[in-house]
């Protein structure tokens, strides 16, 4: 099978991986680069669990081919912060109880980060719109919207 070498920055670290033309960024991240914090929900753009930042913008990694990430910058929820040094959004999701099973969280936070980079003080409606491609089966969204609202003043684009 023909494969293509793909290089990109994953959470700031250069990675190189061989992929087939039809491999999605989602399967490449999870199965070849062990970035399993990126979740596979529907595989067709409906749920948003697979969201990552591609050159700073939140996209569905299941709808993006791995070859199309060549030369770009990919940031997952892990790239935003970790247990020792969490991102304000991550802290806020925990504090507000915006996480139940947690399956949607990685994608939610990525969508929220993309929103706050463009619009540092979004209204609740703007937040709802920004996460309209992210489904949550547990929380009923209320606490997620509050968590993002609360985190906004504490975030800066460089976070």
């Amino acid at each position: 099978m023909t494969t293509y070498p793909v290089r990109f920055l994953l959470n700031g670290t250069p990675v190189e991986v061989d992929v087939a033309a039809q491999d999605t960024l989602l399967e490449t991240l999870r199965n070849k680069l062990w970035a399993t914090e990126v979740k596979n929900g529907c595989g067709k753009g409906d749920c948003g669990c697979c969201a990552v930042l591609l050159d700073g913008r939140a996209v569905n990694s299941c709808l993006t081919l791995a070859v199309q990430a060549n030369g770009k910058e990919v940031v997952t929820v892990k790239g935003l912060g970790n247990e020792d040094d969490p991102h304000p959004l991550q802290e806020s999701f925990i504090r507000k109880g915006a996480i139940q099973c947690g399956f949607c969280t990685a994608g939610m936070i990525v969508s929220a980060k993309s929103l706050l980079d463009e619009n540092p003080r979004p209204s609740p409606d703007e937040i709802r719109e920004a996460v309209s491609g992210n489904l949550c089966r547990c929380t009923g969204y209320k606490k997620i919207i509050e968590a993002i609202s609360d985190a906004a003043p504490k975030c800066s684009p460089s976070d």
Binding site: M1, T2, Y4, A20, A21, Q22, T24, G43, K44, G45, D46, G48, A51, L54, R57, A58, V59, N60, C62, L63, T64, L65, V67, Q68, S111, S114, L115, R128, E129, A130, S132, G133, N134
Partner: protein, 288 residues
């Protein structure tokens, strides 16, 4: 899965080279939001995937001498972020706001939306109502300009040849941008495919509707103009009686199907309602 190859031309010259050496069916990909699910589902199985996203000269939005030009690679998010579109073509802005979710809009391109030729393509009714033109390029630089109302041939079928790409979409800057309105009914509010959608653009003259254009989505095998209704609107007065008569006529001008989203009868009723609301909004200057 069959063997598939991938190429990403950086210029039209490189694209021509790919056409010359290609063996077997090829498929263009831009944002991939239609192509990737189609590949996964096995509904398409090209020999070669040609990624247009390296043709940077096709990503721009600009206004030149009263004409608005949108490069085919512009994403739906680019359209929403454009001052030109927001101020001068709000009809397209409204349509872009209804397309998918921000995650999808950050990848989805306007060229892909038209080339995919879904009857429910969200940018189509507004572009039809603004009399848009599709500019294309074939191998060795052969170009043509196709009025959008002649571009779609059927569900997922367009007039494009196998080696023909959309390079840009153009339309004249609307005379009065506030006289346009796009309305879409889906099964829910966010991220939804249209049950029916409608765009109205008016250029009122005195007490008549003047040049009215109406684009419709999801009520025929392709996005369509409602020519009969446009004519009737223009020939009558700008009053409730004429609007009511046109709302009756519009249900006769369309040929909706029944599918998982709605029945044909429901679509007809909905279009009449959308039409009345959109006209009212356009008459009032944009507020519904």
């Amino acid at each position: 899965m069959t063997q598939m190859e991938y190429a990403k031309p950086r210029s039209f010259k490189e694209l021509d080279g790919i056409f010359e050496s290609a063996k077997g069916p090829l498929r263009f990909i831009a944002g991939g939001t239609n192509v990737v699910p189609d590949l996964r589902a096995g509904t398409i199985s090209p020999r070669l995937l040609v990624d247009l996203s390296g043709l940077k000269e096709m990503a721009y939005i600009r206004e030149v001498k009263g004409e608005i030009a949108i490069g085919a690679l512009s994403t739906i998010s680019d359209i929403l972020a454009s001052r030109v579109i927001c101020d001068k073509a709000p009809l397209l802005f409204q349509a872009a706001r209804h397309l998918g979710s921000p995650l999808t809009r950050n990848r989805a391109t306007i060229g892909g939306n038209l080339a995919d030729a879904s009857p429910a393509a969200d940018t189509a009714p507004s572009l039809l109502a603004m009399g848009a033109m599709v500019h294309t390029r074939r191998r060795r630089g052969k170009e043509r300009t196709i009025p959008l109302d002649r571009f779609f041939l059927g569900p997922n079928k367009t007039i494009l040849a196998k080696d023909e790409i959309i390079t840009r979409i153009t339309f004249a800057k609307p005379k009065d941008p506030s006289r346009g309105r796009y309305l879409k009914l889906g099964l829910r509010n966010a991220m939804t495919i249209s049950v029916a959608s409608l765009a109205v653009s008016l250029e009122p003259e005195g007490s008549s509707f003047g040049g009215a254009r109406i684009g419709l989505g999801a009520v025929a095998p392709t996005p369509v103009r409602a020519y009969l209704v446009e004519k009737k609107l223009a020939s009558g007065a700008m009053d409730p009686k004429n609007i009511e008569a046109c709302a009756q006529l519009i249900t006769k001008e369309i040929s909706p199907i029944s599918d998982i989203r709605a029945s044909a009868d429901y679509r007809k009723r909905v279009v009449a309602v959308l039409f009345q609301r959109a006209i009212q909004a356009a008459v009032n200057g944009g507020t519904p």
